[in-house]
């Protein structure tokens, strides 16, 4: 019953992305930029391969460089930054559109719990993000299959899972912000600000010593993401992401509850 409600919402959301130009425009933008960075980082003039090659030619001893790992780190860092730009746009309409169309009243007067609507929407928008990520995962698969010595599959997998988890956390917070307003643009701007703030939390965490710095590291999404990209799988990083996802869903259902009591 609950599962079928969640899938009904998720299905409806996914369908709405693909009947409008929304998903296609986002995909075109993201695929172009991520492909461009992929080429530039790997085989461009300033790319990793070129740098290692020229240093070896100049006779500079740089020890052994694991090009594959280096590439993974810098490419996933770029993807993380790109996500910063597109996540507010993905999450802005989640509830703001429903409010604008008046369809939120349909959802709130149907036998659905608020959190199952929120979860369904989050699943759908996270799937859309994964869809946007697919080509770059494909590029990575090509690059890493050519790496000698070969990179264990778990490392790029963990990095990409980390990216999806971070995106899901930010989308969850963005969904909450979207539920507060019926203006898409306002929701996008606020979400963008929140993401920037969460980035600065990481900056502060790295510069502050001792107790405060350690704790800020725990709540910093970027720090958890970097750990996963570097192949370090801590329970604390996963639990940080899942806490953010849970927090977003919880706050969203609270804000919808408030909306519900206000219209009656």
């Amino acid at each position: 019953m609950i599962i079928s409600n969640i899938t009904a919402i998720a299905q409806k959301e996914l369908q709405s992305y693909f009947v409008s130009p929304f998903a296609y425009v986002m995909a075109a933008f993201f695929w172009f930029i991520s492909g461009l960075f992929f080429v530039e980082i790997l085989i461009g003039k300033q790319g990793i391969i070129q740098q290692v090659f020229s240093r070896e030619q100049m006779g500079v001893s740089i020890g052994s460089v694991d090009v594959a790992t280096e590439f993974l780190n810098s490419y996933l860092a770029i993807l993380g930054t790109l996500s910063l730009l597109i996540i507010p746009i993905l999450s802005m309409g989640l509830y703001a559109d429903e409010k604008k169309q008046g369809t939120l009243e349909l959802l709130t007067t149907s036998p659905l719990s608020n959190w199952s609507v929120a979860l369904g929407k989050l699943i759908a928008v996270t799937l859309l993000f994964v869809f946007l990520l697919l080509p770059s995962i494909f590029y990575q698969a090509i690059a890493f299959s050519a790496a000698v010595p070969s990179l264990p599959l778990a490392i790029p997998l963990l990095a990409n899972v980390g990216l999806v988890l971070m995106a899901a956390s930010l989308l969850s917070i963005g969904m909450f912000i979207s539920s507060l307003t019926n203006s898409n643009i306002l929701a996008a701007i606020l979400t963008f600000c929140i993401i920037l703030i969460s980035w600065t939390v990481d900056l502060i965490a790295n510069n502050v010593e001792g107790w405060l710095g350690d704790n800020l590291k725990y709540i910093s999404m970027l720090d958890s993401y970097n750990n996963l990209v570097q192949g370090v799988a801590n329970i604390s990083d996963f639990s940080a992401f899942f806490s953010y996802i849970f927090l977003g869903i919880f706050l969203t259902s609270q804000s919808i509850e408030l909306f519900r009591s206000n219209i009656h």
Partner: protein, 252 residues
């Protein structure tokens, strides 16, 4: 949750997803209203037939007119066969033909469902509803049938007359006709055939002094051009009940 399963609600603006087709939308609604997968097809088609949406079942909602959207809104409210349907201003923003269509649709639903209709178009309420509740500033003022409400006003019916001739003779005589409460000389209009006076006669409810009035006027040698019965509309009742101001018995 149980309550929500048993009501169908149509807000003032129908809650539609413009990117969906009519059929997709009703399937989605039937899913979230908790209809079992096996029943959905039948229920969706039933609702579309009731609301005459079959020929547009695959049209994207964005392309449909306001009248269609309102009907989809009603289809959305009845798709899970709730015992109670709440409609909030269902005819706002429709053209007269669409209004008639929507009203007929609502009337046709009345047998199977209890319909709560919220409206400020009072003729609509007196046309469609079996019982009327007037609410002023959150307080229920009265609940009755439309006819019962009209009877509640003591001085209910009256007549409007258009006569020519010497009115001053018949005025006192008219006041003596049984059932008549007051006679008001309203104004006069001048037409090609001379001066005409408009009289307003208020009479006790359930009395029928019309034929006596007509006979009196004719026997006194005046010409009777028009004799029309006037009834207080629901507007009069509403105004009388929601404002303290005294109200003229007839509205023009």
């Amino acid at each position: 949750m149980k309550v929500r399963r048993r009501i169908g609600y149509l807000p003032e603006t129908p809650p539609l997803y413009p990117g969906m087709s009519v059929k997709q939308y009703l399937y989605f609604v039937s899913k979230i209203k908790g209809i079992r997968a096996g029943d959905r097809r039948r229920r969706v088609y039933n609702a579309m037939i009731r609301c005459q949406l079959i020929e547009q079942e695959n049209t994207i909602i964005r392309k449909l007119s306001q009248g269609y959207r309102q009907r989809i809104g009603i289809a959305q409210a009845i798709v899970h066969k709730p015992p109670v349907i709440i409609l909030d201003e269902p005819t706002v923003g429709l053209d007269p033909r669409q209004i008639i269509e929507v009203r007929n649709l609502i009337k046709s639903l009345a047998g199977e469902h209890t319909i709560i209709l919220s409206t400020h178009i009072l003729p609509e309420a007196s046309m469609i509803c079996d019982r009327v509740t007037i609410i002023n500033q959150g307080k229920v003022i009265t609940t009755d049938t439309p006819n019962g409400l009209q009877a509640q006003l003591k001085i209910s019916s009256g007549y409007q007359l258009e006569v020519s001739g010497d009115v001053d003779i018949i005025l006192p005589l008219l006041r003596n006709v049984p059932g008549v409460i007051s006679v008001l000389l309203e104004n006069h209009s001048t037409t090609n055939s001379g001066k005409r006076h408009i009289l307003k006669v208020a009479c006790k409810s359930r009395s029928e002094p019309g034929k006596d009035i007509a006979k009196l006027i004719v026997t006194q040698g005046l010409e009777l051009h028009e004799l029309r019965r006037t009834c207080p509309s629901l507007e009069d009742i509403f105004l009388k009940l929601t404002t303290e101001e005294p109200l003229s018995i007839n509205n023009l």
